[in-house]
Each structure stands twice: as structure tokens, then as C-alpha cells.
């Protein structure tokens, strides 16, 4: 088996890591970035742009630039999250036949797994470049509160990208793995994750390599971007007071302010003050205006204090749900770039009564943990035994609309469990098996995974027939349920493909399309390379021609000029065939000039010597 890469598929940014040469390494993307923005842009030239490049054209193409797909993956159109996205996103979110949220871009409807699949495809290609070998397997991380449908949809995204997703693991668990936990005795771990746009707190219990999620809480709309905004607004207010000009009205000034705010925030993590130097930020009748202010760490903390305070209550709630006190927590881990701010570190230390671990880059720690999990599966990492657990309880709907658990959450998988049920009325000839996932007592409070019926039960008084229902969960968390009438041996089973998500033939189609678009993506990339090479070749050759063209015969000079002209025409036409021919032609001219030049210098050397 080849390497298994670890992927942190985040709401705002993604990160890829792999175990290589005995250490965990981060895979940089094509632009050299260690993280990649989770953004896909569909241009009207038919390109699919991913990452930083997609962000750069977002403003010109807002309705076709998709971001934060993670907020929609595995969700229904009319869910609360779906609603919120519909209100704020500039791209169109639409309903589908089975109620899933989908996105319409350029007149075509995409499912969230397809969109995440496009991002994953690029990450896969970057990993293959980095390792110099094909990559087929991956571990992808998800938030601990993701349900089966969201996990399945994330796996589908991987499949679409041509990846065999070996495991879906929880983000806090991955972070704990990166810190080398999971090797020792029992430990209770708190993972505080403050990312670009979301906040998650998870309480884990680790026993002999088994990580159980005891509780989770958070705020899906609180992150580093909110901190930046506070600084920006403060700066704009200061400037307004000084000059009477509101910088917020000027898009360019706002952009400079935004960049300066983010830079300042990062600097204040290590310096106690930072200065803003933005000359010529605005102008009015009295001339150009400059912004030159100092922001102390103290003032910054005052500006964001309430944001950090908002993370306290979820932490306390998570502890209460886990039935633990802060003092019971053995270790606290920080995840997400915003946790670098000292005010966050202090607040976390206050909440849990101990200093948090932050030695590992908080933007990369989750991907690293996923890579380690990959290493465990390939056998490269030997001293950890990791068992996966079922994140939510599974059970059936029983009489009166109640939910009867058959498998408790945090049971290690793979597993199998059976319970025997019976009929509720005389001569009942069929039973409906309604499979649900969740923790609530009433079945309507839980998520429906699927229904089927076992028919042909021979007439009998109620309470007599014996129907054995068996739940089986495999190592990937895929659920199969079977029901057997013990009297007749009649059996009915179903593999839970939840009443959401993509059907197998849809997935197959999407994979086929993804492969063809990978082809066109590659040829697009090739063309861009070609254009760049031709462009610099033409420029350099023109320069050489100006200097050394005189050395050529009149005929050759005319020829050279003609071919250079063709080169420029090819660049304008942007046609692949023309570009290739032009590259050859201009290359020949370049070589002609070089030869002439070398001959000339050889001759002049010779004359010098003689």
C-alpha cells in the first residue's frame, strides 16, 4: 500500500500532511502555501480554480465562487445551517429531490461532496507532486459532532477526488494524536479549536488507544475573522475622528485596512505593541491623508475581550455534559490559528486551571494527526493502537414513537449487536424497522437513517413472534441492519445508505466527470505553463534581437522578425496549437541569435589573440 495522506478539510482552510522519512510533513500546495483556502471558483472560461487563486477572483465572480461548503455537506436544504447560508452566501443554494442542500453554479447543480471533491482533487495532486508517487488513500478529519450523513458525504467527496478514504476521524482526536497522546494510560483531554470561522470545544477520554468523545460544544459562527473586524473598525473609527473621513466607504482603503489588521493581530501575539503605517490612505480638499497609529496589545485585548468570553460558556457546557470538572482534565490542546493570541491562551488556562499545549503549529496539528493515523494503518507507526468509535447511538423506533438504543455511542467499531422484538397487535404480519441515530428518548428527536419492512410474519397473537434485529457496524462506520423472523427464518436486510446523500450511480457518474475534468484541468495548467514560457522567451529573444540582430543576414533578420511577430500573435490568440508552434519557432530564432553571438565573440577572441 502506498502512503496514506492526512487531510484536514476545514471550513475556511485545508491542510495536508503525510508521514515521510519517519516524520510528519506538511504538503505545500502548488503556490507553496502550507494551507489552502477551501474555495472553488468556476470561471466563464470553464476553469475550476481552487484555493488562493479562487479567492483572488471572488469579487469579480461572486455568484460562481463557492466557499464554506463544509457548512452544507450532509445537510438538508431546510436545515438551520442551510437557511443561514442562503441568507448570506452570494452563490445560489438550492433544494434537491431528497431534500439535500445543493449549490447552483453557472446553471449547473453541484452537491457539496462534489465541490469538496474538487478541492480534494487539488490537494491529492499536490501530495503526489510532493511525494513523487501516486496517492490513492487518505484519512479525512471531520468535527466530532458530524453525524453519519455528514461523514458519509465527506467520504463521497474523497471518492469523487479519486481517494480511497481509509478512515474518517474526529478533528479533536487527530489533534490529540499529533501530540503523541494515545500511548499511555487513561487521560481526559480538552481540545479548544478556534479557527478562521468556527469555534469547537471537545472533551475526550483516552483509554488504551481508544479515544471517546465525551461531549462537544461551540459556536459555528465565531472565529479569527471576527477578531480582524474588531481591529479594522477601531482603526476606521480613529481615522474618522481625526480626519472626518470614513475609510469604510472606500473599498481599496478597506482592503488595506483588512490586511493591516490581520498583520497587526499576528504581530501582537509576540510584540506588546504594533504600529499601523498607511500613508496616502485617503485624500480630501486639504490634501492626502495618512493613517499612522499604534495599537497596543492591551487595547487589542480590550477590543476582542467579549469575543473570547463567548468561548467560555461552551467550554463549561461541554464539561458539564461530560460530567466533569475542569480539574479532571489532564491535558488541554489548542487548535486553530487564532489560539496564538495571548488573550486566548490565558482565557483557556483560566477555564481549565492549567496551561494549554500549543507547541505544535495550531493550523497544522489536525492534518498531522490524520497523517499519523495513516501511519498507524500502513504499519509505519507501531506504538499506537487506535480504535475508532461510533460517534452517536444507533437504535430503532419502537412502540409509542420511542427510541430504543441497540448500540451505545462510543462503542468501538467494528461491532455487532442484536435485540429481539415482537409484534404489538394480533396477527400482525409485518414489522417496520426504522433505524435512527442519536441520543434522544423520542425517535422524532433523532436522525432517521432508513426504514425497511420485514413481511410475511405468520399470524399469531401479539407478543408471540420473535423478530431478531441485528445491527452491524464495520470499521468505517457503515451500518447494516437485518431483521429475522425466528419462526420462519425469513430475513430482510438493509445497508444504511442514509435517506440523504448520493446514490452509488450518482457517485460513479460524478467520479467519471471528475476524471474528465481532471484531464481538462491538467491541459489548462499545461497551457498556462506554455503561455508563460512563450511570453518570457519572446521577451528575451526580442531583447537579444535588438542587441545581436545585426549579426544575422538580412534574410534571417526578416525571418526572425516575422517569427517573433507570430509569437506575439500566438500569445494573443491563446490557442494551444499556435502556442506550441510559436514556441518552437521563437526558440529557433533565439538559438540562431545565440549562435551568431558566439561565433562573433569567438572570432573577436581569435582576432585578439592573433
Amino acid at each position: 500500500m502506498g502512503k496514506i495522506i492526512g487531510i484536514d478539510l476545514g471550513t475556511t482552510n485545508c491542510c495536508v500532511a503525510v508521514l515521510e522519512g519517519g516524520t510528519v510533513q506538511i504538503v505545500p500546495n502548488k503556490e507553496g502555501g502550507r494551507t489552502t483556502p477551501s474555495v472553488v471558483g468556476f470561471t466563464d472560461k470553464g476553469e475550476r480554480l481552487v484555493g488562493q487563486i479562487a479567492k483572488r477572483q471572488a469579487v469579480t465572480n461572486a455568484s460562481n465562487t463557492v466557499y464554506a461548503v463544509k457548512r452544507l455537506i450532509g445537510r438538508k436544504f431546510d436545515s438551520a445551517e442551510g437557511q443561514r447560508m442562503r441568507e448570506t452566501a452570494p452563490f445560489e443554494i438550492v433544494d434537491s429531490q431528497n431534500g439535500d442542500a445543493r449549490v447552483r453554479v453557472q446553471g449547473r447543480v453541484y452537491s457539496p461532496p462534489e465541490l469538496s471533491g474538487i478541492v480534494l482533487q487539488r490537494l491529492k495532486a499536490a501530495a503526489e507532486d510532493f511525494l513523487g508517487e501516486a496517492v490513492a488513500d487518505a484519512i479525512i478529519t471531520v468535527p466530532a459532532y458530524f453525524d453519519d450523513t455528514q461523514r458519509q458525504a465527506t467520504k463521497d467527496a474523497g471518492k469523487i477526488a479519486g481517494l480511497n478514504v481509509e478512515r474518517i476521524i474526529n478533528e479533536p482526536t487527530a489533534a490529540a494524536l499529533a501530540y503523541g497522546l494515545g500511548k499511555s494510560e487513561a487521560e481526559k483531554i480538552a481540545v479548544y479549536d478556534l479557527g478562521g470561522g468556527t469555534f469547537d470545544i471537545s472533551i475526550l477520554e483516552m483509554n488504551d488507544g481508544v479515544f471517546e468523545v465525551l461531549s462537544t460544544s461551540g459556536n459555528t459562527y465565531l472565529g479569527g475573522e471576527d477578531f480582524d473586524e474588531r481591529i479594522m473598525n477601531w482603526m476606521a473609527d480613529q481615522f474618522l475622528a481625526d480626519s472626518g473621513i470614513d475609510l469604510r466607504r472606500d473599498r481599496l482603503a478597506l482592503q488595506r485596512l483588512k490586511e493591516a489588521a490581520e498583520r497587526a493581530k499576528c504581530e501582537l501575539s509576540s510584540a506588546s505593541e504594533t504600529s499601523f503605517n498607511l500613508p496616502f490612505i485617503a485624500a480630501d480638499a486639504s490634501g492626502p491623508k495618512h493613517l499612522n497609529k499604534t495599537l497596543t496589545r492591551e487595547k487589542f485585548e480590550e477590543l476582542v475581550r467579549d469575543l473570547v468570553q463567548q468561548t467560555v460558556e461552551p467550554c463549561e457546557r461541554a464539561l458539564a455534559d461530560a460530567k466533569l470538572q475542569a480539574s479532571d482534565i489532564d491535558k488541554v490542546i489548542l487548535v486553530g490559528g487564532q489560539t496564538r493570541s495571548p488573550i486566548v491562551e490565558r482565557t483557556v488556562a483560566d477555564i481549565f486551571g492549567k496551561k494549554a499545549s500549543a507547541e505544535i503549529n495550531p493550523d497544522e496539528v489536525v492534518a498531522m494527526g490524520a497523517a499519523i493515523q495513516g501511519g498507524v494503518l500502513t504499519g509505519d507507526v507501531k506504538d499506537i493502537v487506535l480504535l475508532d468509535v461510533l460517534p452517536l447511538s444507533l437504535g430503532l423506533e419502537t412502540r409509542g414513537g420511542l427510541f430504543t438504543k441497540i448500540i451505545e455511542r462510543n462503542s468501538t467499531i467494528p461491532l455487532r449487536n442484536s435485540l429481539t422484538f415482537t409484534t404489538v397487535v394480533d396477527n400482525q404480519s409485518s414489522v417496520e424497522i426504522h433505524v435512527l441515530q442519536g441520543e434522544r428518548e423520542v425517535s422524532t428527536g433523532n436522525r432517521s437513517l432508513g426504514k425497511f419492512e420485514l413481511v410475511g410474519i405468520p399470524p399469531a397473537p401479539r407478543g408471540i413472534p420473535q423478530v431478531e434485529v441485528t445491527f452491524e457496524v464495520d470499521a468505517n462506520g457503515i451500518v447494516s441492519v437485518s431483521a429475522t423472523d425466528k419462526a420462519t427464518g425469513r430475513e430482510q436486510q438493509m445497508r444504511i445508505t442514509p435517506s440523504s446523500g448520493l446514490a452509488q450511480d450518482e457517485i460513479d457518474r460524478i467520479i467519471r466527470e471528475a476524471e474528465t475534468s481532471a484531464e481538462s484541468d491538467r491541459s489548462q495548467r499545461d497551457k498556462i505553463d506554455l503561455v508563460n514560457r512563450l511570453s518570457s522567451l519572446v521577451k528575451n529573444t526580442q531583447r537579444s534581437f535588438l542587441e545581436f540582430g545585426g549579426l544575422l543576414s538580412k534574410e534571417s533578420q526578416e525571418n526572425a522578425q516575422r517569427l517573433l511577430g507570430e509569437g506575439e500573435a500566438a500569445l494573443k490568440s491563446d490557442e494551444l496549437g499556435e502556442l506550441r508552434m510559436a514556441l518552437d519557432a521563437v526558440d529557433r530564432v533565439a538559438r540562431q541569435l545565440t549562435n551568431a553571438m558566439m561565433k562573433e565573440s569567438a572570432e573577436s577572441e581569435a582576432t585578439k589573440e592573433s
Binding site: E31, G41, T43, D44, L49, I53, A54, K55, R56, Q57, A58, V59, T60, S63, R251, L252, Q255, N277, P279, F280, A283, P288, I528, N532, S536
Partner: protein, 114 residues
């Protein structure tokens, strides 16, 4: 390090642009001073060029997210849609690599194109 110098280059250019657009009713001493600063700007550009740093063409070019970052769009009667109509910060490449994309204003697409 080159990337960190770019904001300085930006601000020097902004200073020069601001003063150049002012009426030339300023004193000769000021104009000499301005000219001197322009020469410094030229020197700075030469040093950058010697390191292989090249500016990225922007205004008038077709918008290309590989080398341009669109910050705002504006409808324009005199330009084709998706054309760079103003450069808000110069972009630079070093050799073949992108050092920093140009920050640009792009002509908006027509409403019926969406």
C-alpha cells in the same frame, strides 16, 4: 525579504503619484525635491530588477487571477468586461514565480452575463 520591501515601494509610489497630480504651482525647490525623490524611486526599482523582480502588467490586461487579485469591480462603458481598469497596488514576480499579485479594480461583467 523582497516581499517585505514591496509595501515600502508601494508607499513611495503613492507619495510620488499624489504629488505629481498636484498643480505645478509649487515652488522650484519643491519640484527639485520631488525630482530627487523620483530618482530614488528609480534607483529602488533598478535594485529590484537586478534581483529579477519584475512588475506584473495590470491596467488594460484581461483579468487573470493567477497574477491579479480583484478587490473591487466597477461597471465601465469604455472597457470590455473582466478587464483591469485600475491598479491599486503593483504586483511583482521574481523570475517565474509570483511574488505578490497585483491588487486591481476590474470592470464589472454586464448584469445579463451572470
Amino acid at each position: 525579504m523582497t516581499r517585505k520591501l514591496l509595501p515600502v515601494v508601494d508607499n513611495l509610489n503613492r507619495a510620488l503619484d499624489a504629488e505629481r497630480s498636484v498643480e505645478t504651482s509649487e515652488s522650484p525647490e519643491f519640484r527639485h525635491f520631488l525630482h530627487g525623490v523620483e530618482l530614488i524611486g528609480k534607483q529602488l526599482n533598478e535594485v529590484l530588477e537586478s534581483f529579477g523582480v519584475q512588475p506584473i502588467p495590470a491596467v488594460g490586461e484581461r483579468f487573470d487571477p493567477h497574477i491579479h487579485e480583484a478587490v473591487v469591480t466597477e461597471p465601465s462603458d469604455e472597457h470590455e468586461p473582466d478587464t483591469v481598469i485600475a491598479e491599486l497596488a503593483r504586483g511583482y514576480r521574481i523570475g517565474d514565480r509570483l511574488l505578490r499579485p497585483a491588487m486591481v479594480k476590474v470592470s464589472a461583467r454586464r448584469a445579463d452575463d451572470d
